[in-house]
């Protein structure tokens, strides 16, 4: 096994084009487990931790360009007000030790259906930015993640960043697991309200082959808010509407039975998560905070 340690993005992309089989490593919190348990023995590892271009973020035209190598800890410390949904999710990842190493780029690279960064990125309308030695391209998260642990990343490509619109309204995230810390989500849900364009967007996690949007639930809720003029009055959402929203979110899921939970439990949990996050987000809007 060989270790490639580029110190710039250009070097990293060149190394990846010369050795396409090299496996990129950022925080290593997914990949090291596979190495330690001999589940994977790549010929080469491409260490990305010394590539400065991947380890920063910048804001331009209402969009945060978040480098693939930014850790959860930095995200929470530095960009929580701009990306509140993603920051709430980041706070729930693993433990302090994991959040100090694990990165958003690694969560995208692993593309686990349970990846906690994915539902809030979906709800926020994020674009994944990929680059190779010959150029770069970007695509919506829904196009990037093609199935459980599979992505549209080509062998010569790296994830360089994710572009996330700065929040214009409240965003929430919640997940269900056996305890508060250190759990892989049994089901998770992210919600974003966009008062300026009177829209609602969602992301479902751990209840399908990849993160899903609950589009019928989104348009139902938008209909209720439009019809009752609630975007302007910020008046209360009736419980019946919140319950229906939860049901439509549960319907949008494509869960499976596995060791962490059953199909029925996951759907039930999603209905609860959807109602709960809606209550929080609407409360945030009424308080005028985001």
């Amino acid at each position: 096994m060989e270790i490639l340690s580029p110190s710039s993005l250009q070097e990293a992309l060149l190394a990846k084009s010369e050795t396409p089989s090299a496996v990129p490593m950022a925080g290593g919190t997914d990949l090291m487990v596979e190495l330690n348990f001999d589940r994977r023995r790549p010929d080469a590892i491409l260490d990305l931790t010394r590539v400065p271009e991947l380890n920063g973020w910048e804001r331009a035209d209402g969009v945060i360009r978040l480098g693939a190598g930014v850790t959860y800890a930095r995200l929470v410390a530095e960009i929580a007000p701009e990306l509140p949904g993603l920051a709430i999710a980041a706070r729930t990842v693993g433990s302090p030790q994991i959040r100090n190493r694990g990165t958003v780029g690694g969560n995208l690279g692993s593309a686990s259906p349970a990846g906690d960064a994915l539902p809030p990125l979906l709800a926020a309308g994020a674009q994944v930015v990929l680059a190779s030695a010959t150029g770069s391209r970007s695509m919506p998260l829904t196009a990037f993640i093609t199935g459980p642990k599979t992505t549209s990343l080509e062998p010569g490509e790296l994830i360089t960043a994710v572009s996330v619109p700065v929040a214009t309204g409240p965003q929430q995230f919640s997940k269900i697991g056996t305890r508060n810390a250190m759990v892989i989500a049994v089901a998770s849900f992210a919600l974003a309200l966009h008062p300026e364009r009177q829209a609602v967007t969602t992301g479902i996690g751990s209840a399908g082959p990849r993160p899903l949007m609950a589009t019928a639930a989104e348009s139902f809720l938008k209909g209720v808010l439009d019809e009752e003029g609630l975007w302007d009055t910020h008046g209360p959402i009736l419980p019946a509407a919140a319950i229906r929203f939860g049901e439509l979110v549960a319907d949008a899921a494509q869960p499976i039975d596995d060791i962490r939970g059953t199909i029925r439990y996951r759907r039930h949990a999603l209905g609860v998560l959807a109602r709960r996050t809606l209550g929080w987000a609407w409360g945030d809007l009424r308080k005028g905070s985001r």
């Binding site: 270790i3 090291m32 260490d47 433990s95």
Partner: protein, 157 residues
């Protein structure tokens, strides 16, 4: 491959390292620092907790090559001129050590918590130590140790 890293303020070289080795393996098996424990090798137990360039990490999840040229502080590096560090002393005094396997990791995590937050609430202690498992104590005495260390650092106790 050969590695060069700073451990507890001293420069170290490790030779003939297999490139897939973790920092934990290199510390324990090549550099004579067995303080950090190996219990799960998958980031779940925190018994391998060390500082890497000042950040609390699981040494089992750091590729040793990623630590090349960087500074590592292990539980062995916390003591002050031969005396136990106040966090270490508090674990002893509170009776928070039974089999002791989790202790090095918990001591480093507690050290990290108290360096950021001198008077943590119980909820903050629970959150900060969520990545450290103990199979013996039931955590009550561990909480006592953290509170004792915090109180002593504030000049009490």
């Amino acid at each position: 491959m050969n590695l060069h890293l700073n451990v507890n303020g001293r420069e170290h070289d490790a030779e003939d390292v297999w490139p897939g080795e973790s920092l934990l393996y290199v510390l324990r098996e090549r550099l004579g620092h067995p303080g950090s424990k190996n219990a799960c090798e998958q980031g779940e137990c925190g018994s391998c907790s060390v500082y890497l360039d000042g950040a609390l990490v699981c040494a089992c999840l750091v590729l040793a090559a990623q630590a090349e040229g960087r500074a590592v502080v292990t539980v062995e590096g916390l003591n002050e001129g031969g005396d136990l560090h106040p966090v270490q002393q508090a674990y002893l005094d509170a009776g928070a050590v039974q089999c002791g396997f989790c202790t090095p990791g918990l001591v480093v995590s507690t050290h990290s918590l108290l360096s950021r937050n001198a008077e943590p609430s119980d909820a903050e202690i629970r959150e900060a130590l969520a990545g450290n498992l103990c199979r013996c104590t039931g955590y009550v005495k561990i909480f006592d140790a953290v509170r004792l260390a915090a109180m002593r650092a504030q000049g009490g106790g």
